[in-house]
Amino acid sequence: MNLFSKLYYKSRKYWKAIQLYLVIAGPGLVVMVADNDAGGITTYAATGAKYGYNLIWFLLILIPVAYYVQEMTVRLGAVTKRGHAEAIFDGFGAFWGWFSLIDLMIVDWLTLVTEFIGMTAALLIFGVPAWVTVLGVVALMGTIVLNGRYWTWEKIALLFCALNLIYIPGAFMVKPSVPDILKNGLVPNFPGGFNGELFFFLMANIGTTIAPWMLFFQQSAVVDKGMLEKDIPWGKFDTLLGSTVTVVVAIFIVVVTGTVLKGVDIDSASQAAEQLLRTNHYVGTFMAIGLFDAGLLGAICISLASSWAFGEIFGWAHSLNRKIKEAPWFYACYFFTLITAGLVVLIPGAPLVLITLFVQVVAVTLLPAALVFLILLLNDRKRMGEYCNSLAENLIGGFIVVSIVILSTLYGISVMFPRLFQ
């Protein structure tokens, strides 16, 4: 009897913990899975096609990298109750504030265009015209935000996060060699030696894992959700779970293309999906659905990141908990970025490849600044109190930030001057 009662109380305790997590879950999981956006899927697909399973070990390293950077936004948001843009304005003054805000606006808008490129390309495989996709996506995203609750928006976003797992059954269907994955994938190695091309791929994978909009988005989401200091441990767990899920999904994409398309040069995820369709109809379909979902999830988050940031600075009502009449500027900003980005994709002969490359270059100008500000704000003992960075956190965070700054800068330079690393 004693054993049963103990088991009962233990299971109740765990169930309560799960229930509590489900209430807190959201910002970390959504932002990390949304990080596997259209550009991210292309990078992972190309990595698998180029190097097979050999860079899986490198993707695993990105779990702590993404976690340590993003968990800082949880603490900053929960303690200061301010979004990242407002925190930069307040901490470093108007000059750095405007720089970050305008840079964020440009990067977000350009990234949003790339999400539309991914979504239209994915549905084009099924014969859906681009204009139908753009119209459908704008209508769907409008419906999601206009119901007037952060909670509902977040749960719908989580549903799309779950769809991102579609790559996992796809990887099992191509019947990869598990011993090969373990032998080649988990032992650190540089296939073909450490050359310029490999370096470019490593940098691209880092570049897709940490993006500037993610810092702004997660901190604003933490504030909009109303997370408090006591929720920080759950917020950290949410972020860790998110970073693990995002890398696991990335690994499964690498496994799919590494098994079926090894040696094929991949320029876009839609091209990978088309190639896969020829060998395995279901896997190709999964790839295309996954690409559309990735673009949609990215678009859902990125368009909000800008609207939140502008709302914080201009003092507009900026919450998904507000109706359109209560926060007209917040929703106007949201729809403006969404519709204009969608329209760009429909322009005949629009320089879409140039836009995709330009995103990576402009993102590099914002990312180091946002990361440096993040570390400095987390060391502001006056505001952060006991949630201030410890020495260990500073050493780990500092090392990650310096590494990301160096690698993302080199990545940006290599995009501008491709011959430099050959």
Binding site: F92, G93, W96, G97, F314
Partner: protein
């Protein structure tokens, strides 16, 4: 339209005034970090401009 632009300019001025003083303690580490960031951004923007000149050329 003109009154809207005027209101926007007034709002931007208000924001500049509100955030005119940085609230973070300007220790030596913070000052060095911000200076390094300025240099870094100048170099990067210079590179981007150079690239665009090359493209245009």
């Amino acid at each position: 339209m003109a009154s809207r632009i005027y209101r926007l300019v007034r709002k931007i001025r208000e924001i500049n005034e509100r955030y005119s003083t940085p609230h973070i303690e300007m220790s030596r580490g913070v000052k060095i970090s911000l200076m390094a960031l300025r240099v870094y951004l100048l170099l990067l923007v210079g590179l981007i401009v150079y690239k665009f000149v090359l493209i245009l050329g």
